[in-house]
Symmetry: C2
Subunit: 128 residues, 2 copies
DNA sequence: CGATAATAGATGCAAATGCATTTAATAGCG
DNA sequence: CGCTATTAAATGCATTTGCATCTATTATCG
């Protein structure tokens, strides 16, 4: 818990210094970027990011307001929506990644050997 | 990050079901309980819990409002305060611990062997 | 088919958080 | 000593979160 606190704090701070939005934005943009067509249903993003439904709904409001995604109708089910990534969204994710990757390397990569990282990942995987 | 998300969510949920306040309350009460005289300066709690200064200040407002702690003058430095644990605070921490301990065992203890837990702790310690 | 239940997502309101700044007091230095 | 810088803690205001509920739509089952 403490390690996560420290790491997340350090990484968010790096993003902020670089004038970037919070990590949660990245998480959503990343899930969209690596999805088939750059679009997902809100509940899919929810599952993948572990964001609460109401928090995601409002996060999407913010992303939409910034022109990073847009919500489109999902024809097969009138209750659903598509969340579609825009070009601006793709661009921002790439710019964020440059900062984020460096931050990961600084705060994590440089402190763990490959096999140690694998050990942690293997053990923590039991909780997922 | 995900493991922490899941675990914390599960533990907070257990506390809530048992009618207990959030884990942050426990953290503060625990630091007080294990301190010398059941009292600490706000900045000491801040260091130990990693809570932000302004968040702690307001958390203490809530704890004080519930009669779990009280703020007293710190004679040696007029800027400082003592945060003193009350009997109700001690009692609550104990009751929380019953739920919390069970929750830890259920969600963590039962999934890791002693040596595995030590391995994780040893590796994550690099980030502190 | 029609009524009831379930699901996807949005939203009003209260509480918590983040940020910048304030207040009050002590420390440090010429 | 007096002035400026620093520190401890609190606070006003904007943003975000949590909770409960709502709306709209689809699924289920007699």
């Amino acid at each position: 818990m403490r390690a996560r606190e420290r790491l997340l704090g350090a990484i968010e701070a790096d993003l902020k210094v670089a004038g970037m939005p919070p990590l949660a934005w990245y998480d959503v943009l990343w899930e969209l970027a690596r999805s088939q067509d750059g679009k997902l249903r809100p509940y899919e993003i929810e599952e993948r990011t572990l964001l609460a439904q109401y928090n995601l709904s409002r996060l999407l409001d913010r992303l939409e307001r910034e022109g990073l995604v847009r919500r489109e109708v999902f024809a097969e089910d009138g209750r659903g929506r598509w969340v579609v990534m825009s070009d601006a969204g793709r661009k921002l994710r790439e710019r964020m990644w440059i900062v984020y990757a460096k931050s990961i390397e600084t705060h994590i990569g440089s402190k763990l050997a490959e096999n140690e990282a694998k050990t942690i990942a293997g053990l923590l995987d039991r909780f997922l």
